[in-house]
Symmetry: C2
Subunit: 262 residues, 2 copies
């Protein structure tokens, strides 16, 4: 296997070379994909359409293109629009990474036990999907397959709405109070330190599910708020216990699947 | 120094003895406080009034009483109501601990770098407050002093509202989606695994600040939601960058104060 990298910035290419991570790295995008059997696009979503258009002419027939974008309906649409019929696009969303950006935060255990969602549109393109599934499994991921539409609804719930909650939480808190924030606040707000352009892309390419999800969150917050305002202990304890039990079930299932360590 | 423990359950007392944590441990509450110079109450808030009433007759003159409850206005009120004038009550809120409960999750580094808020009502009772401040500093805490009213407003923002957000987030997410939740969801929702009775006490004894705080959070969520619905990229990026910068400032200040490790 020969691994060829493309990076926009000369500084990034120098770091890749210094760390000896790839067989070669270039700043020439069309050249980087020539003769490739498989391509992994790992740039912000808003760059996908242009990159697909730029590489389309240079893709070898039978090539498999995937990406690591956090929404999947729009990437499938751009792939259908810009990529030639001779190549296969399969969407990937490895649910790993942190709020940090760039090669300085690379870790070789990043995918250990992470869930990776693999998406396909239309008829089953079994060979390409199997290849991509094996790729992520070899990196340590637990792979789940679904349609791009289901992916975007589901991931709005478990990732995009939590991100919106973290951002709103930080912005709703008076800055002069933050010196007393403890570990709870740090964890609850952690994802809000993620890159603004990447998350704006995610929100904008999944607007319907994100707005519906925020509406559900606001409704739940309002139910809890009203129970507190009315001093309804039983109702408050029921809401807290429901969340506690759901989270315990989720964690137990992740332990069983070895996605979490004890 | 002689350290005497009180625990309601025989099982807990057996564990304390097996771990050799204290000089002695008893199930007799009034006996446990007799002759004490300092008392630390570490039970759910809803038990404070009854415990203060039970121990009042047995407290030695000059004794200092504190607690580790997460709200402070009600404990000060109960102390004024039930404790004799010959003892001094100072409120403490060490902002440490996890979503886990009980002696099995005890850690000797729990307070390292944690913020501890110390509260006093009315005129300065300097000797008692200095004693309690030194106590928490010796355990590794960064101590901040303020009034109980300011404590309850501030902590609603950095702890109680984030808790409400975590609970609402879990309850707003379809349980069959949680198998795809990643590290972001786990961190954002972690505190929702905390004990329901303890958190119901907190919400009920800080209802005004909690409801005001949830209202602020809902307002921020709605601003972000509307920007997403209207595809306003600049507005979304501004909101995300505001949160990102505020969180970066908070973390830098914590690093400077050595409350966080690099």
């Amino acid at each position: 296997v020969e691994v060829v990298g493309y990076a926009h910035r000369a500084e990034t290419r120098r770091k890749v070379q210094a760390l000896d991570l790839l067989d070669s790295v270039t700043g020439d995008l069309p050249a980087s994909v020539a003769d490739a059997h498989m391509i992994v696009l790992a740039t912000p979503l808003s760059s996908f359409a242009e990159i697909f258009a730029t590489i389309a002419d240079r893709l070898a027939p039978g090539c498999i293109v995937t990406d690591v974008g956090s929404t999947k309906m729009m990437p499938h649409r751009w792939a259908a629009q810009y990529l030639p019929k001779t190549v296969t696009y399969v969407g990937s969303h490895p649910m790993a990474g942190s709020e940090q950006q760039g090669i300085d935060f690379a870790r070789d255990d990043l995918f250990d036990g992470a869930t990776c969602i693999v998406t396909q549109r239309g008829r089953c393109l079994c060979q390409a999907a199997t290849c991509i599934t094996t790729f992520w499994q070899d990196l340590g991921c637990h792979v789940v397959a679904m349609s791009p539409a289901r992916h975007d609804r589901l991931v709005a719930g478990v990732s995009h709405v939590p991100h919106a909650a973290a951002v709103a939480l930080v912005n709703a808190t008076r800055p002069d109070w933050l010196h007393c924030a403890g570990k709870g606040f740090l964890d609850t707000s952690r994802v809000a330190s993620g890159p603004a352009n990447v998350w704006a892309d995610i929100f904008l390419t999944n607007a319907e599910s994100v707005t519906t999800g925020i509406d559900r969150l606001v409704k739940e917050l309002t139910v809890l708020r009203n129970a507190v305002a009315r001093q309804q202990r039983t109702r408050i304890e029921n809401l807290l216990n429901k969340a506690r039990q759901r989270r315990a079930t989720m964690i137990n299932e992740k332990l069983k699947r070895k996605e979490l360590l004890k």
